[in-house]
């Protein structure tokens, strides 16, 4: 499928024979801005639209098929590779998938240099989904096979977009390896062709992916075995609801309408066979005299001493205490 000869010529003879190379500069636009029918597949693929004049020029050149191009944004020093889908763009324009524009840091209307390229078939690619929800896909192999059908090249550093199940997944190409031919010296290239080849795909953990912590191994407890039901067995005395003569609804939980049960509610029974002891009750932490503190605070709410208008009574109150004081002093 691939010709060796022209390749050598391409490498060394491009300067001598300008006819052999295709190199044009176009204004680029996103596929979405193409006139005519909407082409959603084109936006999630690796192929571009070129003007018919490009086809004419390419046809006159002796280039290898499938046609592959190197896209170069010389302003930003970015480049990528792409295949071609159709030659239906307006003259002077090229339509690129949206992700490619982003990868090349191109704004619509910017100039992009498109050269024809000759890429090795890929053997291995390592990709990294950019969102963890890629892991939710049940069969990523089939999804990728289907999605990469629309691509003819992969370049290291691309962040490609694929659409699946009405969701757009971004995937970054981390690493590519061409199929090495031992008899052939290869130019260093960061792009591979993936047309009609078996590709080994490796995944890096998605960006933002957190390794789930293994749950601490929990020992089985007796509480699990005896299955304690803590809900108290409450039984209300008067079931049913009230009615009002004016037709309005009775408020739920109206204190007048509910009758408080006089009986205490008992916690459910814990019946274990003889010879079993159970300690897994809810742990009540030891609080240091919290209740008594609250009581003291309540006492402090009404500080101060009482007053009485009848002075006689107060004297009477006081009298025994003074006498007792005398008694104690006399006894000691």
């Amino acid at each position: 499928m691939m010709a060796y000869g022209p390749y050598d010529d391409f490498e060394y003879g491009m300067q001598q024979n300008p006819n052999r190379g295709f190199s044009e500069t176009y204004r680029c636009y996103s596929v979405a801005m193409m006139p005519g029918n909407e082409r959603p597949i084109a936006n999630f693929g690796g192929k571009i639209f070129l003007p018919p004049s490009a086809l004419a020029k390419l046809a006159s050149l002796n280039i290898s098929y499938p046609m592959l191009f190197e896209l170069n944004n010389s302003n930003k020093q970015r480049h990528s590779h792409a295949g071609v889908l159709e030659f239906i763009a307006e003259e002077g324009r090229a339509y690129l998938p949206h992700w490619m524009m982003q990868t090349l840091l191109l704004e619509p209307g910017d100039l992009v240099e498109i050269k024809n390229a000759d890429l090795q078939l890929g053997s291995y690619v390592k990709i990294q989904p950019q969102t963890p929800d890629f892991l939710d896909i049940s069969d990523p192999k089939a999804v990728l096979e289907n999605a990469l059908r629309n691509f003819s090249t992969l370049t290291k550093g691309d962040v490609i977009q694929i659409s699946y199940n009405e969701k757009i997944y971004e995937i970054m190409v981390l690493e590519v390896k061409p199929k090495l031919d031992p008899y052939q010296e290869h130019p260093p290239s960061d792009g591979v062709s993936i047309v009609e080849t078996d590709l080994e795909v490796d995944f890096a953990p998605p960006l933002g992916y957190v390794e789930p912590k293994p749950l601490p191994k929990r020992q089985q407890t007796m509480a699990d075995k005896v299955k304690i039901d803590y809900t108290p067995s409450t039984h209300t005395l008067f079931h049913g609801s009230g009615q009002r003569l004016n037709g309005k609804a009775v408020k739920e939980g109206d204190s007048d309408s509910t009758v408080k049960s006089g009986e205490k509610s008992a916690p459910p029974a814990l019946n274990l066979p003889f010879g079993k002891l159970f300690f897994g009750y809810k742990i009540i932490p030891l609080s240091d005299k919290k209740t008594t503190n609250a009581d003291e605070e309540n006492d402090k709410l009404f500080a101060g001493s009482g007053q009485t208008l009848r002075t006689r009574k107060r004297n009477q109150d006081r009298a025994p205490s003074t006498s007792s004081a005398i008694a104690s002093s006399s006894s000691s």
Binding site: P267, L277, I284
Partner: protein
């Protein structure tokens, strides 16, 4: 009066503690604190009488120099202890010198004793009983509570449940804390008992249960008190969990172990179990679960303790049934309020035992609450009340149906360790504790190593002084009763002559032969699945694990 060189006087210590001195120099009053040492009184007298040498002051109940004691002999005593109040002869008795009754509530409160001892209670009951009855015949004063419907009622009605009358139905029960306790104190003869016991929890995180073997002794700190001295903790087959214990019942070896203990003069005095949970702070502290705001003994444990107490009852001739209460104590190893591991000991009241026996209380999922069951054809549940002080400080009575607090069942028992431990079994070498398969099995190999048979049994005298070793040897069933008691004698006495006597015995020789031949080695237990394989098999027959 005597010459000035030896002044004699009578002293009357009145309630306001004034010592009056009559002497040839006149009458003096000296105020003295009754709790002061006699030396302070001596110096006061010497100052008052202007005596140069106070050594020669004599002190006596009556003004006769012949019966007087030199004051220097009484140094260290206080005025109160001189018993100078009694003016009667030595065979008389007055209010001051009459001994206190053992059930004296004031004395008990002073000493911080929450419950009077059983024998004090018995004295009290007998005194009241004798006061009322003029019968010369001995009538047992104690009565065990029994809340079951009396059988064979003579009321002339159909037997229960078809008919019931006031004479055969149990009366209404008013719950109140029990005023006495059957055992006053639990003494662990050595702290190592507890250490060994909680080591299981330390190494596995699982709770543990054990029976305490020991004996009952008089406890002098409580009038007519009884203490249970724990000499060994035996751990029956069980399955521990993080939050519970399941005993493997029936415990087939129970009789053998009881016999071994009996040969050592020990009985089951109670049970002990751990309820420990690490607080996960990494400081080695445990969670304090049992405290004033939660519970001390859960209702489920109360029911269990009651069942155990009814099994190990206390025989007495002062009860018409021949038994009264139980001296079986329940010890819990749990966290105290500082996060340390601590022991607490309890008994449940006789009322609790009777209620559990009559089957009308049950545990609830709230550990501090006991449920009262409903009456059915199988059981008649009388009215149950409990009294408590309400929020206004008034004593109120409330029906205990359907539930009531567990505190009415609890009887506190103190516990402690002796100042000078003198345990019965002194072996310091570790022998695996029974039924702890996770931490090492008891087998002939470990026994051989423990008794150091390779070295001619040189360690025999010390090594056998361990209840776990004795119980294991008893279970091997090689020694007859006489030989076993000889072994126990050696274990307790540590005398070389006993060892010689033992080694001569044929049963001991049989045991040694058994250990040497390693009869158990006819099988080898798989390291992985513990299956006992025949010796010929080189891999485990169950899991195909290689023989070690």
């Amino acid at each position: 009066m005597a010459p000035s060189t030896s002044t004699t006087f009578d002293c009357i210590a009145s309630h306001i503690h004034i010592v009056r001195i009559r002497s040839e120099r006149g009458t003096f009053r000296i105020e003295s604190d009754p709790n002061d040492d006699i030396t302070s009184l001596k110096s006061k007298i010497a100052r008052q009488l202007k005596l140069s040498d106070s050594i020669r002051i004599l002190i006596s109940n009556d003004p006769k120099p012949s019966t007087a004691t030199p004051i220097s002999d009484l140094v260290g005593k206080t005025l109160d202890q001189l018993e100078v109040r009694c003016k009667h002869s030595s065979n008389g008795m007055c209010d001051y010198c009459m001994p206190l009754e053992p059930y004296d509530l004031k004395y008990l409160a002073e000493k911080g004793i929450k419950h009077m001892s059983f024998h004090s209670y018995l004295c009290k009951i007998r005194k009241e009983f004798n006061k009322n009855s003029r019968n010369a015949r001995f009538i047992p004063p104690l009565e065990e509570p029994d809340f079951r419907v009396k059988e064979n009622c003579s009321g002339g009605h159909a037997p229960w449940p078809e008919g019931i009358c006031t004479s055969c139905q149990p009366g209404a029960i008013t719950l109140q804390p029990q005023s006495f306790r059957m055992v006053d104190h639990v003494e662990f003869s050595s702290p190592s008992h507890i250490e060994d016991f909680i080591n299981y929890w330390r190494s596995t995180g699982l709770q543990r249960f054990g029976y305490m073997y020991g004996r009952y002794e008089p406890y002098p700190d409580v009038p007519l008190g009884i203490k249970a001295v724990v000499e060994a903790i035996y751990e029956p087959p069980q399955e521990g969990e993080v939050d519970g214990i399941s005993l493997t019942l029936p415990w087939n070896e129970e009789k053998t172990i009881d016999d071994a203990a009996d040969a050592c003069g020990l009985t089951k005095v109670g049970m002990i179990y751990t309820d420990l949970t690490d607080d996960e702070t990494g400081q080695g502290k445990v969670i304090c679960k049992r405290h004033i705001n939660s519970y001390f003994l859960s209702s489920q444990e109360c029911c269990y303790a009651a069942a155990m107490q009814s099994r190990y009852f206390n025989p007495t001739r002062y009860s018409p049934t021949g038994k009264f209460g139980s001296k079986f104590v329940t010890c819990i190893v749990s966290g105290n309020k500082d996060g340390g591991v601590d022991v607490s000991a309890y008994q449940v009241s006789n009322t609790c035992v009777a209620m559990v026996t009559a089957d009308f209380v049950e545990a609830s999922v709230d550990p501090g609450i006991v449920r009262v069951k409903e009456s059915t054809n199988q059981r008649y549940v009388p009215e149950v009340f409990y009294k408590y002080k309400n929020e206004y400080g008034l004593e109120v009575q409330e029906s205990a149906k359907p539930c009531f607090p567990v505190e009415y069942f609890l009887v506190n028992v103190t516990h402690g360790f002796p100042f000078k431990p003198n345990p019965l079994f002194t072996s310091s070498d570790a022998f695996p504790i029974e039924n702890r398969d996770k931490l090492g099995k008891q087998d002939l190999k470990t026994l051989r190593r423990h008794l150091a048979i390779d070295r001619g049994g040189s360690k025999l005298i010390t090594a056998v002084s361990n209840f776990h070793v004795l119980a294991y040897i008893k279970q091997l069933n090689q020694l007859d009763d006489d030989e076993f008691s000889q072994l126990v004698k050696l274990a307790i006495s540590h005398i070389e002559a006993d060892a010689f006597a033992l080694v001569e015995m044929p049963g001991w020789q049989k045991l040694l032969a058994l250990i040497e031949s390693g009869q158990e080695a006819r099988k080898w237990s798989c390291q992985r699945c513990t299956f006992d394989n025949p010796l010929s098999a080189s891999v485990c027959q169950i899991c195909e694990y290689l023989k070690e």
